[in-house]
């Protein structure tokens, strides 16, 4: 668990964190013929098992906290869209979630 920073992370740092998590989830079996990029797809390029994607999402939420509303994001997608997800889509979603408006005044402080 990483402390939630007050400055929103940029795409490059989320991408680096996602690569670290991928290595943690898959281990040495991680298929990386070329460096992980925003265009890399989880299913086709990384051959990620769907159960491994579940683990990855869990660890992302552990890292970035509840402001990343994965449930609502995933609820708006069809099955084929989820299967076709790229690293860039997840990174952009995390960055957008964290750079959005801070929780409304009066809601419990984070951390």
């Amino acid at each position: 668990m990483t402390d939630v920073d007050t400055t929103a992370p940029d795409a490059a740092s989320v991408l680096a964190e996602l690569e670290r998590i991928l290595t943690e989830v898959i281990g040495d079996d991680l298929l990386l013929d070329e460096p992980l990029s925003m265009a890399t797809s989880f299913d086709e390029d990384l051959q990620l098992e769907s159960i491994e994607f579940v683990a990855l999402a869990e660890k992302l939420l552990d890292t970035y906290g509840e402001r990343v509303d994965f449930v609502t994001w995933m609820a708006g997608m069809e099955l084929d869209e989820i299967i076709a997800l790229t690293v860039g889509q997840v990174v952009d979603f995390v960055v957008a979630s964290l750079s959005g408006p801070a929780p409304a005044a009066g809601s419990p402080a984070e951390g």
């Binding site: 769907s50 579940v54 683990a55 869990e58 509303d69 449930v71 609502t72 609820a75 069809e78 099955l79």
Partner: protein, 260 residues
């Protein structure tokens, strides 16, 4: 990795809640997946998130599956019901839950509704696979065939050389499950269900018109007193993934209806 110790085993679980709360009560939902190559991700990719906007959704990998522990023995329906009861206790789900069952998960859901009706609010079954006369031969037969195929050295070599990493890992895990555990023996020993008429909770059952187990659909409709059956034209046993949008629409309507 969220892991839970229940009924003496380690389970991979996921509990999903939406963040939007309008004060409406959020009923507990538990989703049960199918056999061998299936795991909680088939729910995670389809119904779990849409349902989590209105309910507290509990997912887990059944024993032997996904990222849960694979004991050598204990794969009867009754063992799976014991696991489910232990997990409900762990989650503190004491009010009756809405059970979603896909394929083999359907028989686990039905069996809980029969054994512990006080813990079940409703059943939403997709291609529920339960024991009728001759179930052992049908179910274990198709599994045994897969085991046989995967046992062949040539197939194994082909898989590691040509198949993508994902398929090969799924294949290896499935092979271990089928050949190193009592799964097939346990399923073959299952007695046909004789108590469907005693399942008292509201039940929605969906099957594909091209399903190889459409006889189960007719059996449920005839015997479960409060069962509504929908047969989806042109779909197979893989109804959940083939028609995920339709199934989601039905599931949301079902939960909404139960709250009235």
């Amino acid at each position: 990795m969220p892991e839970v110790e229940a009924n003496g085993l380690r389970f991979h679980v996921q509990v999903l809640h939406g963040t939007e709360t309008d004060g409406a009560p959020r009923p507990p939902v538990v989703m049960l997946h199918g056999l061998v190559i299936d795991n909680l991700s088939s729910w995670y990719y389809t119904l779990a998130h849409p349902l989590a906007l209105v309910a507290d959704v509990h997912l887990y990998d059944l024993r032997g599956h996904g990222r849960s522990e694979m004991p050598a023995t204990g794969y009867t329906v009754a063992d799976n019901v014991d696991d489910l009861v232990a997990l409900l206790d762990h989650w503190g789900v004491t009010e009756p839950a809405h059970l979603f069952g896909n394929s083999f998960g359907g028989v686990v859901a039905l069996a809980l509704a029969h054994r512990h009706p006080e813990r079940v609010a409703s059943l939403f079954l997709i291609e529920a696979h339960f024991a009728v006369e001759g179930w052992g031969e049908h179910m274990a037969g198709s599994l045994a065939l897969a085991a046989f195929g995967l046992d062949e050295d040539a197939v194994q070599d082909w898989l590691s050389e040509h198949a993508d990493r994902k398929l090969s890992r799924v294949a290896k895990r499935s092979e271990r499950f089928l050949t190193k555990t009592s799964l097939i023996d346990d399923l073959q020993a299952e007695e046909p269900i004789t108590w469907l008429a005693e399942v008292a909770v509201p039940t929605y059952a969906m099957y594909g018109s091209d399903s190889d187990i459409l006889d189960r659909a007719r059996e449920l409709e005839a015997k479960v007193p409060r069962c509504t059956l929908e047969v989806v034209e042109g779909s197979s046993h893989s109804l959940l993934t083939e028609q995920s949008a339709l199934v989601r629409e039905r599931a949301l309507a079902w939960i909404d209806l139960q709250a009235r």
